[in-house]
Symmetry: C2
Subunit: 331 residues, 2 copies
């Protein structure tokens, strides 16, 4: 627990006063004020997160965390459990969706963290997985990576994510459970029933985030939680993209609310519980392209927008340098 | 008129039967069916537009069409008319938003087409501008460009676009007029009044698209219209991104309805009339990042998604090649 306490203590609130100075720079560029919308917001947020008015193109890495979920035996997914391990080989050989999109966006996909098999976790196992995720992030940051994307793979993990969301957002399972890889109506109803049973039996206490994670989470979600916490502790932005990675981030924000300052939600999930997660984190997703693959794919696409925001911030001419008449005072 | 008739006659409906074959390929990739959402839709649409199941990364070009609008003397914009010419120099020296975002997305920005000055056009002038835009596209396609992005710059051009939208969509000016570069409430009300006067005085006939373009359009909008028509005539996709470029595309689709098959709407405009335009074209924008700069910036960002869709289509492993268990039959 001491290592977790140290990690949490290292997470500082960013200096919000940089936002105005960053916006002043953006307002000097040759465009009407605010005309680049969320790209300007991104550039401003990156300045605040990084604690600097000098932005550089991030060195980005995607880490795909994979884990088995014992709950698959309750029939909550279309796919059998062994697909998780098969997909890990696919990630390692570079043929999965996230490999393609990370290459496209200029991000590395480091070795997949294939977590231990197990249907549920003890508190110690959850902590161990969390610290393992933090260690992966720390290793990457030690190598100069300054933007992190957690991806996920785990047949059954939308069930665990729905359970976490129900507990932390105080919502009934029916309001936060979705079709995962494509359940039909009967499958969705059965999944909700499984979740209702799980929550009734385990009765997790939202005031004890680590306990909730152990009771109804998953090993990869615990690792993503630690990965997000470690990033925040070094002011490194994290791009989240879906129901599973945002679940990990939600646990992180319950352990250290300040951590949420360093999170960007890159893509909106098709899973209905994602909306509640974003609301809880105070975030608005950048993209909504109907993706429901996970793996970090939506975040990899959003990385392109982050890169565009940094380029705009650094490369656009100012009104003065280009000799363009600036915005007049309004009546 | 003969050159226009030839251009329109060259626009053919694409072979929709390729959509199923493209989707069959996408369904074999290691992901649940449809899990890459709009990226899959994009890859499928590109196959249909290009008439081929072999997709290659497009060679993309952005053309920024600029023009003066006499209507600026009626006080419809925050910025004075001379900013149009000043910004043209900014485009040419590479410091404008579109230069930065086009570089980022791997697209060239060819020489800006700085159109003639003039408050309104004769039918002949509109035709000449349309054919000039078509010639620019033809020149680029002759050089191997196979994806075109029309950008726009013209103080006053949201007024012209609102007029075109009101006429072609049969809507009152108040329903299709927005704040442009940032008008306040009084400015917006005055702009709507100007538009109401324009439409009452000119009374354009929606059944005569070229006549409408001449009466209430703009030279850069006419050029964008021709640029879109020329692209469609050679099955080259066009990414549109906002109120002005979509106005040009709307005129194109009124001249040749089949042309709309080749249009992708990359970004949703903040101008309220854009929704009516998209509906008229049967399109759903890919991005909504609160951009209101024009210049093709939203389309340049969407080009990143087109590139991602092509990469997914070409580079992802199949279930068979990766040895991953495919989707089971549902109950």
């Amino acid at each position: 627990m001491q290592r977790l306490q140290e990690l949490l203590a290292a997470i500082q609130a960013p200096d919000q006063s940089l936002a105005q100075a960053a916006q002043d720079h953006l307002d000097n560029l040759t465009k009407p004020r605010g005309a680049l919308g969320r790209l300007e917001e991104l550039a401003r947020d990156l300045c605040v997160m990084r604690g600097s008015l000098d932005l550089t193109q991030p060195k980005a890495a995607v880490t795909v965390f994979a884990a088995d979920h014992g709950v698959t035996s309750a029939g909550v997914s279309l796919y059998p459990r062994e697909v998780t391990a098969q997909m890990v080989f696919n990630f390692l050989s570079g043929g999965a969706g996230i490999n393609v999109l990370a290459r496209q966006a200029g991000a590395a996909v480091p070795g997949t963290a294939n977590m231990l098999e197990g249907p549920a976790m003890t508190r110690e196992q959850a902590l161990e997985a969390l610290l393992a995720g933090a260690a992966v992030a720390q290793g990457l940051m030690d190598e100069g990576v300054d933007l992190l994307i957690p991806g996920d793979m785990g047949i059954g993990n939308t069930t665990a994510s729905a359970a976490l969301t129900a507990v932390f957002c105080g919502l009934a399972p029916a309001l936060v459970t979705g079709r995962g890889t494509g359940l039909d109506d009967a499958g969705l109803a059965a999944k909700i029933q499984v979740l209702e049973k799980v929550l009734t039996r385990r009765h997790p206490d939202p005031a004890d985030p680590l306990g909730v994670l152990a009771a109804v989470g998953g090993l990869e979600i615990a690792a993503i939680c630690g990965y997000c916490l470690a990033a925040a502790s070094r002011r490194v932005p994290v791009i989240l993209d879906g129901f599973i990675s945002t679940s990990g981030a939600l646990v992180a924000a319950r352990l250290a609310p300040t951590a949420a300052h360093y999170f960007i939600v890159g893509h909106s999930s098709q899973e209905q519980g994602h909306r509640a997660q974003c609301q809880a984190l105070g975030k608005r997703p950048l993209l909504d392209l109907d993706l429901r693959l996970g793996e970090g794919t939506g975040a990899a696409l959003a990385l392109g927008l982050v890169r565009a925001a940094v380029a705009i911030y650094n490369e656009m001419a100012t009104f003065a340098s280009a000799g363009v008449t600036g915005e007049p005072e309004q009546r």
